[in-house]
């Protein structure tokens, strides 16, 4: 009885103190993260939560710091203040970040870049197998088997033995998604995945992302694709002037934004 009481008291305490707790269903948490390039602040004191299985879209004007924020989640950018948690891996800006902390964080997050960043000297299959062998220590056979499954999933099984330069932009980005999935990440980070593609080709990438979202993958997506943000995401964040100025249900934010800045941005992108 006393056991039960104390455990429910703990649950209450942790619910009340949700900013510092490790809530079981929270996949990504940023606490008071700040970043500047030299003297120019990019964003200040940003906090956010993405739950397991949730798709969070981040929209906003260029230069708002969306991509930089996303790159802080897997520590491609170091931040000056704050704490970043992905799954059960945490790094704090104040403490020196060790290599093993960094590796733990990055193993939990897969990233897809605007410009794909495939390795041009490796075949498609080698691209997808590379980290499996080097990071997870899988055998070539096991890695290639998994890679072929993933390429099948993004509809590119027949491109396995080509070099990336022989694939179209849309195909390259789908390969990059397969590559990011290959290390079995718990969250996928998308940094403007369709911005370098022409609109029609972008659709095939969005279709793969939609399938991924439906399969329950936790996703953070920095994007200018408003219909994707509205229809696929569960949480919409609007970033401007170094802050998340608005967040919530995508339909509500898009149809009835509370901030004038959000209205101005949405007007510019939706009613042009």
């Amino acid at each position: 009885m006393s056991n039960e009481a104390s455990s429910s008291a703990r649950a209450l305490a942790s619910a009340a103190d949700s900013v510092t707790s490790q809530g079981g269903d929270v996949m990504v948490r940023l606490d008071g993260v700040s970043k500047s390039f030299g003297n120019a602040p990019v964003f200040r004191d940003v906090s956010l939560e993405v739950k397991r299985g949730e798709v969070a879209a981040i929209i906003g004007p260029s230069g708002a710091g969306k991509s930089t924020l996303l790159r802080c989640v897997n520590a491609l950018e170091s931040c000056e203040a704050g704490r970043i948690t992905v799954g059960d891996a945490t790094i704090s800006a104040g403490d020196g970040v060790t290599r093993s902390q960094l590796l733990a964080l990055r193993r939990r997050a897969g990233m897809v870049f605007q410009h794909f960043n495939l390795f041009p000297h490796m075949t498609v299959l080698e691209n997808v197998s590379f980290a499996q062998r080097r990071v997870l220590g899988r055998s070539r056979k096991a890695a290639d088997e998994r890679s072929r499954e993933l390429l099948e999933r993004v509809g590119l099984a027949e491109r396995a033995d080509y070099y990336p330069s022989r694939c179209s932009g849309g195909q390259q980005q789908r390969i990059a998604i397969a590559r990011a999935l290959a290390t079995d990440p718990e969250v996928m980070l998308f940094d403007e995945p369709t911005s370098a593609l022409d609109p029609e080709v972008g659709l095939e990438v969005l279709a793969v992302m939609r399938e991924l979202a439906d399969s329950g993958m936790t996703m953070m997506v920095v994007t200018h694709e408003m219909s994707f943000a509205r229809d696929v995401s569960d949480q919409l964040m609007v970033m401007a002037d170094g802050q998340i100025i608005e967040r919530g249900d995508p339909h509500e934010v898009m149809t009835d934004p509370s901030q004038a800045r959000t209205r101005k941005f949405l007007h510019a992108v939706l009613e042009r």
Binding site: R106, M111, P120, R134, Y163, S165
Partner: protein, 212 residues
């Protein structure tokens, strides 16, 4: 005819000095490049100062320093070792700059893609960066190898019996040195052309490989 034979007999030594010093340089340039590009500031500074001094010294002065100036506990370099060591060190400095520009030609995204997947720095350098940087560096490194072949002629100043040395000897002991020197010049060209052709073929082959 015996003039020509005398000059021809210098070919093996010229090739030995060139190949050996290029091999030393190509190898030593790897750690030098890593040091140049390391996040460790004193290391970068050291590598920078080293390459700038070496590249600033005329090779002939540098060979004299090594041949006449270096004695380590009674040990002194013989002429051939001094030439190979000296030109090897010079090659390392030049090739490190060539490697470095190859690495810098890569898009930052290549490093980031590997880092984002948790691939370690060593694996990233060895398997992502180096294979691409080498493709970029091959033409410049070949150009350097050809100029090294010619520069190996300075080794004749400390008595290394390459083509240039043999030509000088022959010109001195017989009247009328010009034809002998012209023959030596033709020999250098004949040796350089195959190197250039081989490098071009290798470059094309690598290009074909990534455009499949």
């Amino acid at each position: 005819m015996e003039h020509l034979n005398a000059v021809l007999s210098g070919i093996p030594m010229t090739l030995l000095v060139t190949a050996a010093s290029f091999a030393i340089g190509a190898t030593a340039a790897i750690p030098l490049t890593l040091l140049m590009m390391s996040p460790w500031r004193p290391g970068r500074l050291l590598a920078r100062v080293f390459t700038d001094i070496i590249r600033g010294l005329p090779p002939v002065v540098w060979l004299f320093i090594i041949y006449f100036g270096v004695s380590i506990g009674g040990f002194q370099f013989d002429a051939v070792s001094a030439a190979i060591m000296g030109l090897g060190v010079v090659s390392a400095a030049y090739l490190a700059e060539i490697y470095r520009s190859g690495v810098l030609s890569l898009h930052e995204g290549q490093w980031e893609a590997a880092a984002a997947m948790g691939v370690g720095r060593l694996d990233t350098v060895a398997r992502v960066v180096a294979p691409q940087a080498i493709r970029v560096a091959v033409p410049a490194a070949t150009g350097y190898a050809i100029s090294l072949l010619k520069d190996s002629a300075v080794a004749s100043t400390i008595g290394v019996t390459g083509i240039a040395y043999m030509a000088t000897q022959d010109a001195r002991s017989n009247a009328g040195g010009l034809p002998v020197y012209l023959f030596a010049a033709a020999l250098y060209v004949l040796l350089a052309v195959p190197v250039a052709v081989a490098a071009r073929l290798a470059g094309n082959a690598m290009q074909r490989k990534v455009s499949r």
